[in-house]
Assembly symmetry: C2
Amino acid sequence: MKLATLADGTPDGRLHIVSRDHQRSQPAVAARTLQAALERWVSVEATLRAESEALNAGGGEPFDPAHALAPLPRAWQWLDGSAYDSHGELMQKVFKLPPVDRGGRPLMYQGTSDRFYGPRHDVRLPSEDDGIDFEGEFGVIVDAVPMGTSAVDARKYIRLLVQINDWSLRKLAPIEMKTGFGWIQAKPASSMAPVAVTPDELGKHWRDARIDLPLKVDWNGRRFGAANGYPMSAGFDELVAHAAYSRDLVAGTVIGSGTVSNENFREIGSSCIAERRGIEMLDTGEPRTGFMCFGDTVRMEAAMPGGTPLFGAIDQKVVKA
Amino acid sequence: MKLATLADGTPDGRLHIVSRDHQRSQPAVAARTLQAALERWVSVEATLRAESEALNAGGGEPFDPAHALAPLPRAWQWLDGSAYDSHGELMQKVFKLPPVDRGGRPLMYQGTSDRFYGPRHDVRLPSEDDGIDFEGEFGVIVDAVPMGTSAVDARKYIRLLVQINDWSLRKLAPIEMKTGFGWIQAKPASSMAPVAVTPDELGKHWRDARIDLPLKVDWNGRRFGAANGYPMSAGFDELVAHAAYSRDLVAGTVIGSGTVSNENFREIGSSCIAERRGIEMLDTGEPRTGFMCFGDTVRMEAAMPGGTPLFGAIDQKVVKA
C-alpha cells in the first residue's frame, strides 16, 4: 500500500491512496490524515488496503508529486540514527573527533519534527557559510511502541517506510557535538519523499528490518551517490527498541537510518557532501568539494529493480531564508 | 492570566482559566486547548484576559490540581537549555567531562515533546540502576517565532511561563553525551506544574527575560533546594533566538532554562541530585547521596513572595514501568 499527503491548506494535509505506479491517487476514506490513520492503524489498515486494491484496479485522479506534502507533514517525534558505520568512521575523520566506545549501542539524536518539508518544497536556510549539506536516508514510521519493547517485538510496530533528506549545517555540527548536547542549529527541518509505503511493497528488498535498495542522489543534476540501504550496523528494529528504552513512542514517531553509506563509497559515491569531503581528506589531505550554494538542487530517489517507483523523488532547491 | 489544562479524555485536554489564588477555574471560551490558543494568540488573548478578569471577580468551580494535565500536555517541540553555569561546571566534574569552549553560545538539546506528565502523574521508568534524578527548571512557551529572530525581538514571542521537572537518567547521560548526539534514553518525558502564567503575573520578578524567584524542591518531603531562577547566563530571550537561528519555531514550542542552580549551592541547596553529588565529590572526593528509588516523591514549587501561588506544585512519584 502506498500513501501520500496532498496540500489542502491544513497543517496535516489530506491523506491519499497512491497507485502502485504513482500515476493516480484518491483521497483515503478510512482516515483524513496519516497521523489519524496511524493512531488507529489496527482498525483502519484493512479498509485502507481495500481502497488501495480498488485504486490499483482503476480510477482516481492523476497523482502530481508537485502538490504533495511530506507523507507526515509534522510528527510528534523524529529520532534519527546513524547506522552506517562507513559513514560514521569518515565523519570522525572529517570532524577530527576522538573514537567513541559505544558499547554496541546505536547512535541516535532527537531532531525537530514540527515540520517536514514536502519533496518539492524550497528549503530556506540562513547562510551558505554554515556548510549546507544534504543527507539521503531511509526511515520508518511506527505505531505506538510501549516502553521497554525488544528489537524482536519492535518489528511489528513498523507501519510505513519513508525516504528522507536530513538537512545539515556542517560548520555548526562539530561545535554543537562538542557540547555533548546534540544538534539544534546544525539540524534544521528535514524533507520527505512524497510516498510512504507499507513494508510488503518492497518484497524481498525489506530484509532484516533494512531497506535493501540503492538510494540514488543527484546534486545539481549530476549523480553523486547510489549507496545501498542494507548495511546498517543496527536495523530499524534495533533503532526502535533503543528509542523505546525509557519512553513510550507515540504513534507516528519517525525513526531515521542516518545517511546511507557503503564501504565501497569510492565506487558508488555518497549520500552527503561531508562524506565525499571525508574521502578527499583521506586521499589528498584536504577537502576539495564545497558545500551547497543557494539555488543548488538535490534529487534523491530509491526505486524498485526494474524501475517501479517506490517513495517517489525528493527534488528540491536550497534558498536564502 | 493563569491557565491550566484539565483532563477530559483527549490528548490535549481542556483549557481552563484559573483564578489568581488557584482556588477556582472555569473552561476557557475563546479556545478549547492551549495549543489552539497559542496558534491564534493575538486574536484570542484579549478574550482570554477578559475571561480571567471575570473569574477573578467571582464564579467558576473549585480548581483541583489533581485533575490537571500539563498546561501543554504535548508540544510540537521541546528545547531545553542549560543556562545556569554553576550547575554546568559541577556537572563537568561529576561526569569528568573536559571543559568545552562554547564561544558564548548557549547550551541546548532537543527533548521528547509528545508527552509532558501532569503535576501529579506517576512517572514510569525502567530501572533504579539508571540513576533516576529530577531537575527543577523554569520554561517559556512561545508563539510562532520566525527563523533568524534576534534576542531583542524574541521577547515579544514569549507568551507563557511554566515550571518543569526534566527527568534524567544520570547513569546513561554521560554515555550518550560522549557520542555528541545528545540524549535519547537519558531524557524521558518531562513534567509540568499545573498552571501556566503570562509574564505580567510575575510583576518585577520577570526581569531581563528571567524568573527572579526561588524554586523550592523537596525530595521525599525534605527540603532539597531553593535556588533562584535569575542567574541564567543566557536569558530566555537569548535561548529563543539561539533555537530560531536555522528553523522557524512552531507556536507552542517549549524552551527550558536547565536545572536552576546558584553559586551559593552549599547554602540554598540544589534542584537535582546530580548537583548535590557534585558538591559531595568536590568536598569529600566521592558522591554520597544516591539517586531516586521507586516510590520516592519529588515536590517543586515557585510561589510569589508572600505566598501567592504561581505555577502550582509538581508533586509526583517515581514508579517502575
